[in-house]
Amino acid sequence: MAGVQLAEVGKAYGAVTVIERLSLAIPAGEFVVFLGPSGCGKSTLLRMIAGLETVDSGAIHIGDRRVDTLPPGKRGVAMVFQHYALYPHLSVRENMAFGLRNLRVPADEIASRIASAVASLEIEGLLERKPGQLSGGQRQRIAIARAIVKQPELFLLDEPLSNLDAALRVRTRLELAQLHRRLGTTMIFVTHDQVEAMTLADRIVVLNAGGIEQVGTPMEIYLRPRTQFVATFVGAPRINLLPVEVKAGATGNALARLGDGTIIGTEVPFAALPSGGAMLGLRAETVCVTAGDEATTHGTAEIVERLGERTLVHTLLSDGARLVAEDAGVSAVRPGDRIGLAIDAAAAHLFDAAGIGHHREAR
């Protein structure tokens, strides 16, 4: 078990910079998720740690060892690939033993490591099969088992769930969480799926355009997004962003004036805001459909999405702005209805012109 230190690592393909002077410290035993859209550099960063991509500048340490000049096999890492990368002509048992044989691990030690991996991942019946005879979910388990038997200091997982169907993805996600708790080994998991990131991570590293947008626990990322990018990337449905005029309120907090004239009394300290335009960020669950007179503003329901446990109401405000509001699972709202919206002003975020997020003071 070892931590990982990235110090000002950079990577460019010709004129295109993929990773720009990125620094990050991952404590030993942590489950870290690299989250970002396609092309943000998250897989490249993982592959640089694995040694599958060269590092143009900076240094990578795993534990106390500097590894960025070592070949992949000498770094003490194990990787689970998106497409599994199982050796197709070797049996499951041989797939697991391959790396250990290369390291000259004694045969009885190999056998016992395979036996314990087999027991923990429930893959008993599969040992003599070839990967081509396995289902996608079974292959994924074998790929994980192959990583486990190496007893690495660090697990690297490159979108390992993206090829599984929805039910299997949820199950494997839970198993990965259990596996991490049992082994306690540092894990780095790359995904573009925010649900995977939120559910698995001790800490999420949100990446965008080759740089880090924010590092934090899942709830920090969700509740206090450092930038507008993080706010929009994390959370479903997407956070509502409305252009607002901001002025100081009596309490020193910012008052945001929506296009339809509604004033939202946020708890964001006005003094922290730079001058210039701002965007109000409202999660759908902080905008509730209401019939009573506690409505902050009113709008017309355009689209009603019934998700079962809740209902999302896409609403058109009087100034033409659109807002997604939430209602109970059993909702009477129909498209075209005039509805009242109760906005939880305390949960509102403000994003300045540079896209930096401002939130109410942490309690």
């Binding site: 096999g73 990787m79 050796y87 070797l90 390291l103």
Partner: protein, 292 residues
Amino acid sequence: MAAAMRTRGDWRNALFVAPYLLVFVVMLVLPLAMGMWLSTTKSDLFGTERWVGLANFVRLFGDAIFLQTVGNTFVFVLLTVPFLTLAGLGLALVLNRQERWAAVLRTIFFASTVLSVTVVTLVWRLVFLPDGGLLGVTAEALGKTPIAFLNNEKLAMPAIAITTIWWCIGLPMVLFLAALQQVPRDLYEAAALDNASRWTTLTRITLPAIRRTFFLVIIVEVILQFQLFGQAQLMTLGGPNNATRPIVLFIYETGWRQWELGYAAAAAQVLFAMILIAAMIQYRISSRKGVA
């Protein structure tokens, strides 16, 4: 109703197959059948004299020259096919990379394949010629007596084999290159993370992954090289003392020089059987090993 439509559909479906079927029957099945029938007759270029049953075959297996051509052909196949396969694989392994020099070398190694046999044999005659040939001049420069490769019973066949390898190396190389590029890159990455040496990666990842192509190349080359003709005809005329006379040259000369069409057809059936058997054996071996 549905059954009736299906029957009519079947008839129309045949139309789509017809053009190929016509060519296949006229150009392949008919000549093969005619050749088989010819081989059981005494025929010349003016027509068939009479049916002789298996007499041509009996005569063939007592014909010392024919038996020698069979031996020559086997020797030639053994000299060329293993080398073509292994060298083709070696070249493909070395040249399977993105760099510009590799692309240039791939082109150069493949270039010889597009030349006609006339050009190839002309070039190599200029190499093997004792008077003024490349090897002759080199030998003289080193103070040695030039060797007349093509007039030497022991060296003529290896010389033809070298010429053939130079001419034919392109096809195995591109077949192997195509196969190598099909091997998923993440397998190599997994192997690198698994601490596999280059040798282990080659023997445990690459070679098993391209096993199918390996057998394909052997089968294709066996079929091609059993049909040696042009090089022997143009470089040595089958000499010296029949040392380089292959079966096809025997068939050609028997049929078109000596006008013994029935006898030549019988020799052709023997060659057909040899190639068929060789290909079947290869196929059996490759499928028994469970090439998936």
